[in-house]
């Protein structure tokens, strides 16, 4: 196998050649600043407008409700910090979940230091929040609810429409981190009752460094990046024209092929899940079996540690990721796996494989074969496995 088998599409994706082609004229040819008056800059402005329209249409929003950012993390930071600031007079209570991306969790921790109170909703063993718990958590001073559309690690899709309905009923702002879901599953801001939504281009075969925050018209939150008058004076900085064009093109393709790609990825994912659970002993699937992102599979293999597994997979030409401590840069394994109730030692042995429509059944077969061997080898040198076998 020469070409790596890329099964880490939740981390980032390959930029489509069509996207690269769409972007390339906006570097050296139509390089004008879209904010300029002269006609030469018009091409760039037109291209930005077109991309904005495509993105807005994809989520049932209006173009003027799309604010370009440098990516998903900026969008999350902006939504939460600016909402907290704008509604600070009403109250200082924010509700989120225990399984959010760090762009949300660390922003909430930052606000906590500034005097805000944060409620982190628990999730069940599949990773779903409980609507009753959400309702109970709401207080008169609750100003924001932020729950992700779908989880980046275990792929579980949250009941966003219902959460949105609860938020609306109580007059509370609702933000969703849609970075993993955007372009992969249908999203409609009205049906979901969301006031703000974060998205990123590089998760849908677009370029890195570009994302957007959808802000519903009428939601009064201030700018996050101060400076020029770009983005209706809410996000300063010269527009990243090639990035925006690439994002628009990637979204156009993602929306056009959403059904086919989702169907293909779901079938391939289910094949992978079934083979792994059937052929590798002491393995488990993390997250919802059905209500999960099309390309996401997340497993735990007992008695072994994730990083060792990843290094071996890499040597066999397979790219995956893990929620073990060693891959998180701390001594604790993934907060998501702990939140769904896994013991530490099990969470250390996790493996996330996220597929795209470019993966093939042959690649999955090869991966399962390699994985089976690797796990056997690692268990052969694991003292936990030794103890387990002696107890049996």
């Amino acid at each position: 196998m020469n070409k790596p088998i890329y099964l880490d599409n939740a981390a980032t994706t390959r930029v489509y050649p069509e996207v690269v082609d769409a972007m390339s004229p906006y570097f050296a040819e139509y390089f004008g600043n879209p904010s300029s008056i002269y006609s030469f800059a018009g091409k760039a402005k037109e291209a930005v407008d077109k991309a904005r329209s495509i993105l807005a249409k994809g989520i049932g929003a209006r173009p003027e409700e799309i604010y370009f950012t440098a990516g998903g993390s900026e969008a999350d930071n902006w939504a939460i910090k600016a909402a907290a600031e704008a509604c600070g007079d009403k109250g200082k209570h924010i509700i989120t979940s225990k399984i959010e991306h760090h762009a949300v969790l660390h922003t909430c921790e930052y606000l906590k230091k500034k005097g805000y109170e944060i409620t982190y909703l628990d999730v069940d063993e599949k990773g779903s929040i409980n609507l009753e718990e959400l309702k109970r958590a709401i207080r008169p001073d609750t100003i924001l609810i932020s729950v992700m559309t779908a989880n980046n690690e275990i792929g579980t899709i949250e009941p966003i429409e219902q959460i949105g309905a609860v938020a609306k009923e109580h007059g509370i702002l609702f933000h969703t981190d849609g970075v993993q879901a955007f372009g992969h599953i249908p999203m409609d801001v009205d049906a979901m009752n969301v006031d703000m939504l974060s998205a990123s281009a590089h998760k849908i075969n677009g370029p890195k460094g570009i994302g957007f925050l959808y802000i519903r018209k009428g939601v009064k939150i201030r700018s996050f990046i101060h400076g020029g008058a770009q983005e209706r004076q809410r996000r300063a900085g010269t527009l990243n024209v090639p990035g925006i064009v690439g994002f628009g093109k990637a979204a156009e393709l993602a929306f056009a092929h959403m059904e086919d790609h989702a169907a293909y990825e779901t079938e391939l994912r289910d094949y992978l899940i079934e083979r792994v659970l059937a052929e590798i002993p002491h393995s488990r699937l993390n997250g919802e079996r059905q209500k999960r992102l099309p390309g996401n599979a997340n497993f735990c293999f007992r008695f072994i540690e994730g990083e060792s597994m990843l290094i071996w997979l890499d040597r066999q030409g397979i790219c995956g990721s893990s929620g073990s401590a060693c891959t998180s840069g701390s001594l604790d394994p993934s907060h998501v796996l702990l939140a769904i109730g896994l013991p530490h030692e099990t969470a250390h042995g996790s493996l996330r494989l996220t597929l795209s429509y470019e993966n093939t059944k042959e690649e999955i077969d090869y991966t399962v074969e390699q994985l089976t061997e690797i796990i056997e080898r690692l268990r052969g040198m694991s003292p936990l496995w030794e103890d387990f076998c002696k107890e049996e």
Partner: protein, 146 residues
């Protein structure tokens, strides 16, 4: 991110396995942090380590440090084995990324734990050997408090 030596000891670990009726065996680390090392030693009547084996649950660095530690103590007497510090293991592996240095501490602990067990079985005291703290985390906490 790992040196060639680390990768070599990870992918071709030396001395993996168990020793039946070992002179000493020790297990350190904990599953919570994701690293557990078990070291088996076979020590002859002259106090020379004839064989060293290990089993490790952990990351690439944990496996490589265990493997290197077994290589370094083999053929040494007990006093010499005590000199196989985490630093020695680190140097022999051409270093580790900063976040992984604790793995080398664990390897040193594993040697000490196995020697402690040997000493206990033989009702002897090894000069300079203290009862190893099995939980690396606890040890770090204590050091911080000091």
């Amino acid at each position: 991110m790992y040196s060639e030596k680390v990768m070599d000891h990870f992918t071709n670990p030396r001395n993996v396995g168990e020793i039946e009726n070992p002179s000493g065996v020790g297990t350190v680390g904990n599953a919570k942090c994701g690293d557990i090392m078990r070291m088996y030693l076979d020590i002859d009547e002259k106090g020379v380590i004839q064989e060293a084996r290990f089993k490790t649950f952990g990351c690439g660095a944990a496996v490589a440090t265990s493997s290197m530690a077994t290589e370094l103590v083999k053929g040494k007497n007990v006093e010499e084995a005590l000199q196989v510090t985490n630093k020695a293991v680190l140097e022999a592996l051409d270093g580790l990324p900063p976040l992984k240095v604790h793995c080398s501490l664990l390897a040193e602990e594993a040697i000490h734990a196995a020697l402690w067990d040997y000493a206990k079985k033989h009702h002897m005291k090894i000069e300079g050997l203290e009862k190893p703290v099995n939980d690396i985390e606890e040890k770090e906490d204590i050091e911080e408090e000091n």
